[in-house]
């Protein structure tokens, strides 16, 4: 099973290093997991109800806590969103943009699914 992925193909310039995140069956729709990346960064990885995969920085920029993987996935006017469990700030899953503060945008990570496993890129887009 290959794709779906978020946005650009993984091999655009230099091929990103892919970090194995978890077996596909561990990623329940609309329920995130945290992924530890080389160097100590963390990604929050999600699958939405339509099967699409998204990964964002796991750290809530408003509070500094690494908890975004534990937020609630939903939508605003059809656009998939994530609500932080800390103070309920919402982010667009596609872009990482904060829906509460135009100055804030989370890093997003390429994701791919291959052979029953989900992978997150070691570095953001």
């Amino acid at each position: 099973m290959t794709a779906p992925t978020t946005a650009p193909a993984p091999s655009r310039t230099a091929a990103p290093a892919w970090v194995p995140a978890c077996p596909s069956h561990r990623l329940q729709p609309e329920r995130g997991v945290a992924v530890l990346l080389p160097g100590g960064a963390q990604a929050a990885l999600f699958r939405t109800h339509d099967g699409a995969l998204y990964a964002l920085d796991n750290t809530d920029p408003f509070t500094g806590a690494a908890v975004l993987s534990r937020g609630i996935v939903g939508d605003r006017a059809g656009e998939p969103t994530l609500a932080s469990p800390m103070l309920k700030h919402r982010f667009a899953l596609r872009t990482g943009a904060s829906l509460d503060d135009p100055e804030v945008r989370l890093a997003t990570y390429p994701v791919r699914e291959h052979d029953g496993r989900v992978y997150v890129a070691a570095r953001p887009h």
Binding site: P20, V33, H49, I72, A77
Partner: protein, 830 residues
Amino acid sequence: MARLIVIGNGMAAHRLVDALTRADTAGTWQATVIGEEPRPAYDRVALSSYFDGAAETDLALPDLSGRAHIRTGERATAIDRAAKTVTTSTGAVLGYDTLVLATGSTPFIPPVPGADLPGCHPYRTIDDLDAITASARTATTGAVIGGGLLGLEAANALRLLGLDTHVVELAPHLMPAQIDQGAAALLARMVADLGVTAHTGTATTAVRPGADGRAAALDLDGTTLPAQVVVFSAGIRPRDDLARAAGLEPGPRGGIAVDDTCRTPDPAVYAIGECASHRGTVYGLLAPANAMADTVADRLLGGTATFTGADTSTKLKLLGVDVASFGDAHGRTEGALDVVVNDAASRRYAKLVVSDDATTLLGGVLVGDASGYAALRPLVGRKLPGDPLALISPAGTDTAGPAALPDDAQICSCNAVTKGELCAAIAGGAADVPALKAATCAGTSCGSCVPMLKTLLRDAGVEQSTALCEHFAHSRAELMEIVRATGTTAFSELIARHGTGRGCDVCKPAVASILASLGNGHILTGEQAALQDTNDHFLANLQRNGTYSVVPRIPGGEITPERLITIGEVARDFGLYTKITGGQRIDLLGARVEQLPAIWARLVDAGFESGHAYGKALRTVKSCVGTTWCRYGVQDSVTMAIDLELRYRGLRAPHKIKAAVSGCARECAEARSKDVGVIATDKGWNLYVGGNGGFTPRHARLLAADLDDATLIRYIDRFLMFYIRTADRLQRTAAWLESLDGGLDHLRAVVVDDALGIAADLEADMAAHVAGYRDEWRGVLEDPDKLARFVSFSNAPQAPDPTISFTTVRDQPVPTAPVHLGMPAAASRT
């Protein structure tokens, strides 16, 4: 700047200063208020609610101390009109340019022997109420002299204090000033249902002392009635002594005579409220006092307002009985005709007084069901919209709605707000009842016109949205009904059929709570897991650094030494910070996600269960030590608290629920600050509900008194389930109670009298909850699939989150600020 002195700090004085200082934008007036009570002005009309659970702060009127100089605890002792000064009890001599007398009235105490004995009280001030409460502590029987409106309120107060209560009225029937014989007969029957005995056409000839020198009995025209507390409510006398001493002539029946501008013959002196005599009438009601205050405020600012008499209509709930009287209730107009519906069997009496040609409404009386009052009162003096009998026959009142009224009809008689003013406010953007109240003051006093406000909004096409969020057009209560009626068990099914999109952090946890309230298995089973807030998802409380805290259930706060030691050992072994909570439990803070199962395993082995500190669910039932240990306890509060906590453990609700049980009236468990408060009496348990309130603190209010154990639990079952079914999302019991149409009385009707016929259904729901309870921590420990979610990282399950670190404060670990490790530059906040 001109100096205004107001003598008296009651509701009329408050209204005057409020109205004047609001309108006096130029700062023409500097107002000083002299009040003999030691507290700021309060809502004396609501005084009786003090016995029904209201605190002194609930009676407070808006603070005016920033707008006027309020001298409390000080009495005016003399007025020198020539020098334009007022002398006070502190010796101060204050000069004025204008003086307003708002000295109110004193209760009339009939000159019977013994009326001054200890145990005899007037019913006028908060201090009087406190004194009555103190007297009632050693009494079993109480009597009220006077069966008027206030007398019946006083009787209810004595009843709520647990006394066997009598009312003695000289006139042939109760409430002679407001209602007729037929209405009074029904009222007496309904009052008797509540255990209050009315003695009408009866004079009190003496109060007799007992051996202790306190009141013990009443002599009534030949018979004797035991009464250790005697409350006098036999009318009021205007306080005009200060004015008389200053040479101002009284009115024909006492009171300070004023003209249509509320001015005395001295152009620098006005009088308002219950001390004023206008065209020979002394009004003892709030609406005329407010109208007089408004008139004077306007005059002081150069206006031309006049007071030409006032509406004396009344709608009250006395001892839980609706009573309303409006217009010419006694049919004194020449040729007036009565149209009466007297249905004693269904406890309902309604009379309309109409003109001799039956076309014009002159007045009316309603007892038992006064729901027609708001629609009928504004019609007084106007052409009837239809057959008068149809207007008062059951279900006929709909024909008299505000649509039929002209713009100048008063909708709110307390604050003299007309339909036209309300419609203008709606046109100006007031889109709900609170906005209308803020814009016009309508509905802010007695509240009887609030249903009319809603009708006006509806008639104007204003829709009041109750939608939960963009995904559901329904309120939480409506969704609850949909889920119950359709047996839906999955969010995806619910949103597909009744909503749009994929949900959000508002509707998902709300639906999760509804599903959990209706018993849909473990909250992490299947799709339900993705609905939960992080707290519910990890069955622990998320703290600021991303760690969780764990709170084991300690029912009633009772714990064995062995279990205490276990909690200590767990905290030590996992390096957790420990704190005793406000709810008699122990909070273990600083656990990382991957540590939670091992912590629970140790606690569950020792016999602990989840305390649901993470959920919108029952938290604790606090208790004192009750009769087991306490010298003063009158019931076993510990056993009751434990029984209640075990009964309702795991119960999910629109908001968290806390309860407490106190073993006596000393209230060491602080039960009245809880959603459900139980306080022991020597006859059983008093049940209080709707306390706490969050940002706006609330005291719980008395729902039912002197209950046995089984009845107490049955009423709490009904109360909690009714709340769970009908409250809004995240609405505490206090706010829910305030939002209920009919408030506490309606709640009592549902819970105690089963007025909606749903009590058995509510009890069955609770029985199902009790039978279906399973410990959620154990549920995770026993299920490998659920257990697998409790990892730090999906690719490094036991690696601690590198952003979490602790420092030591007072020998315990506390979080350092979250550390941003490897935080990409793209994530920035300026």
